[in-house]
């Protein structure tokens, strides 16, 4: 790193090794070129004289002369292009100081500006002086760092060097990519070509969010093994994490750091500040975790916030190795710039920094996500057992001469042909018939009722079921000449009159105009939901809703009060991708309601093949096979 200075006050201007960050654009081209006019050359000469005179006033100059210290130290600033979120590639290049290197028609046309401009390493500044620390870009804003006038200082600190403001905790972020590597203020990687590509940060492999948390955990490093304190427990609760790991944090990183004379004098302060940091960080993370346990959205936001918060909270002062709070104003010598490969003077700082971040984050994330296990899919994947059910049924049907009225479980081969036309020689339209709809919903409802200890014991034993599904003929009867006959339907199942309000969920699959849809009535919430997988507007079918109200009036009599019933406006069902899957969506929406799941858990596919196989195997078996219910 050391090189002899060519001249006092003159800084060598090297173009071979490093690039200069976006902090130093030369706005005026004339400033970078040798002065052509006589007046500017006079100014340049005067400037050089003044600068060399100023050298005499600098204390380091005299110190060096009097004390006969070592050769004047040369410091090389190395930096690299920094990208920003809001600006394009061209701006980045200018920021990187490459403006005059590649001025090849940036304004000619948009096509030319889109060309991949090869980035080459640009400038190295070698600055004389007895400085303890490598100068930072901010130091260039001070006059005494200014080289011989070829580079203008920035009037303001670039955005990339400012600390990012943390977002509020309950801010729901856009889905975005998270990196598992918690670096402080990591600039987004530039897609650079040429020799600079080595210097540009190799992008940390990022995973789509959310991924499995266990996978994420594995990406994080283990706790430092040098810690004399006992290793943290595998399943750290929030309090464990705060009590043990945070106090363990201060000790290992301090002991792992090599002590030089400079740092040794501040050992006590260091320890003190570390423990303060522990407590403050503990509060931060405790808040995060407490907030996050309130709702899934809050959890996501907290996780996001955690990522923001960590760099703000923990910052490492380069001169003493102390970790200081993010709130404190940065000292001039504090390193703000990000070098991708840490220089050799500061390995222990990087180690501390990374340990502090990763250690805290690991256990905070663990605490956030240890409570809920990953949910099973609504329709389980088809297992070999399911395939065996199907195979046996098909074999039985084939052996029997492929009779259409062959009964296979709950339904006939003809009915199964409507859901799996390829297997059971059905119509290729693959439209579900009422047998499939009614039988499948009955299986699900029976399962739910049985789980809640309900069994239908006939007309005489009055006991309202938790859930009930009316057969799809209910609608044709209601719109037929004798709608009153449906009163006996409800009475027989003890869902009329007062008993009606004991039920939690009533399902009405409806086939109208060759289209299946589902109406769900929740008597206790006085709520009616219309679920249609093929709708151009979010409105419910008016005739169907009026039929529902008509039916409620029939079975409730005086208990019916239209004003207290609210229809759920807005379609919540997933939408089908073709003209044959509406029956499948009707069934799966019913499953989502019965299993208290979100409608969005119904996975939309063209043809819904997996769902059809699942439904068919459930119907053949006569009871729930893989559904999460």
């Amino acid at each position: 790193m050391k090189r002899s200075a060519g001249d006092a006050g003159m800084d060598s201007y090297d173009m071979d090794q490093y690039a200069v960050p976006g902090a130093f654009p030369t706005d005026d081209p004339a400033a970078a070129e040798p002065a052509s006019s006589s007046s500017s050359s006079v100014f340049t000469t005067v400037g050089i004289v003044v600068l060399s005179l100023l050298q005499w006033l600098r204390p380091t100059y005299w110190r060096r002369r009097i004390l006969k210290t070592d050769q004047p130290q040369q410091h090389t600033i190395r930096a690299e292009p920094v990208s920003r979120d809001s600006v394009g590639r061209k701006k980045i290049l200018i920021d990187a100081g490459l403006q005059h290197q590649h001025r090849s028609s940036p304004t000619k046309s948009s096509k030319a500006s889109k060309q991949t401009i090869p980035l080459t390493p640009l400038n190295t500044f070698t600055i004389r002086g007895n400085y303890d620390e490598t100068p930072t870009p901010q130091d260039f804003n001070n006059q005494h760092w200014l080289p011989n006038g070829s580079i203008k200082p920035l009037l303001r600190t670039p955005d990339t060097l400012l600390p990012r403001t943390p977002r509020p905790l309950l801010y729901t972020p856009e889905p975005r990519h998270y990196t598992a590597e918690p670096l402080l203020h990591t600039p987004e990687p530039l897609q650079a070509e040429g020799p600079l590509s080595e210097l540009v940060a190799s992008p940390v492999e990022s995973h789509a969010y959310p991924q499995t948390w266990s996978e994420w955990m594995e990406g994080l490093p283990d706790a430092p093994s040098v810690s004399p304190s006992p290793s943290p427990p595998k399943k750290a609760t929030v309090d464990d994490f705060l009590d043990t790991t945070l106090h363990g944090l201060a000790t290992p990183s301090k002991q792992a750091s090599p002590r030089d004379d400079h740092a040794a004098t501040e050992d006590d302060d260091e320890g003190l500040e570390m423990s303060q940091l522990s407590n403050e960080c503990a509060d931060d993370f405790k808040d995060c975790v407490e907030e996050a346990t309130k709702s899934p959205e809050a959890k996501q936001a907290a996780l996001y916030n955690l990522r923001i918060k960590t760099p703000e909270s923990v910052r490492v002062s380069p001169d003493s190795g102390r970790i200081i709070r993010g709130d404190a104003p940065p000292t001039p010598t504090e390193r703000q710039i990000h070098s991708q490969q840490p220089t050799k003077q500061e390995p222990r700082l990087t180690l501390q920094k990374q340990l502090a971040n990763q250690y805290l984050k690991k256990y905070a994330i663990k605490a956030l996500f240890e409570q809920p296990p990953p949910p099973r899919p609504l329709l389980g994947d088809l297992t070999p057992d399911d395939q065996k059910i199907m195979k046996d049924a098909v074999q039985e049907w084939v052996d029997d001469g492929k009779k259409k009225d062959k009964k296979l479980g709950k339904v006939s081969a003809h009915d199964l042909g409507t859901i799996l036309p390829v297997i059971f020689d059905g119509d290729k339209a693959a439209w579900l018939n009422d047998e499939i709809i009614n039988s499948y919903l009955s299986v699900l409802v029976d399962h739910v009722n049985l789980a809640q200890g309900y069994v239908y014991k006939g007309r005489s034993v009055v006991a309202p079921p938790p859930a009930h599904v009316f057969s799809s003929q209910w609608y044709t009867t209601m719109t037929g000449p004798k709608p009153e006959s449906t009163i006996t339907w409800a009475k027989k199942r003890h869902v009329s009159g007062k008993n009606f309000f004991e039920c939690k969920l009533l399902l009405f699959p409806i086939c109208k105009g060759l289209h299946w849809r589902l109406v769900a009535v929740m008597p206790q919430q006085r709520r009616i939901e219309y679920l249609d997988s093929l709708t151009s507007n979010d409105k419910a079918d008016a005739l169907i809703m009026s039929t529902i109200h008509k039916f409620l009036k029939l079975i409730l009599g005086n208990l019916y009060n239209k004003s207290e019933w609210n229809e759920h406006v807005g379609q919540r069902s997933q939408q089908q991708l073709n003209a044959s899957d509406c029956g499948v969506f009707t069934l799966l929406n019913g499953l989502a309601l019965l299993s208290d799941s979100q409608f969005t858990e119904v996975l939309v596919k063209n043809g819904m093949e997996a769902a059809r196989l699942r439904i068919a195997s459930t119907l053949i078996k006569g009871k729930v096979t893989g559904e999460r219910i």
């Binding site: 259409k404 006939s412 009422d434 709809i437 009614n438 209910w474 060759l514 003209a579 509406c582």
Partner: protein, 97 residues
């Protein structure tokens, strides 16, 4: 299964029903057919006769008693069908779009 238990597709006599027999009405909103059946007669026979009379495919019609689908092996006894009860006949429903 005795042969004399076959359903009677004639309208029920005004008076003097046979002892132990149940009169049921099958209706599809357009036509009504009356049957006289034994309590233990499986409904499969009734259905087949109905479809034969109406010229329908058994696979495409549904028989419902008080909202409950009737299977072939059900009987008046198991379904608790009383004298004079009506059985609804529905067409198969298909839906896709």
């Amino acid at each position: 299964m005795s042969n004399d238990a076959s359903p009677n597709h004639m309208p029920p006599p005004a008076d003097a029903p046979l002892l132990g027999h149940i009169n049921i009405k099958l209706t599809d909103n357009n036509n009504e057919l009356f049957f006289k059946v034994k309590p233990t007669t499986p409904f499969g026979k009734v259905m087949e006769t109905f479809c034969k009379r109406q010229g329908k495919d058994l696979k495409s019609v549904r028989f419902l008693f008080e909202g409950q689908r009737i299977r072939k092996e059900d009987t008046c006894e198991t379904l608790d069908v009383q004298d004079g009860d009506a059985i609804e006949v529905h067409q198969e429903q298909l839906g896709g779009t």
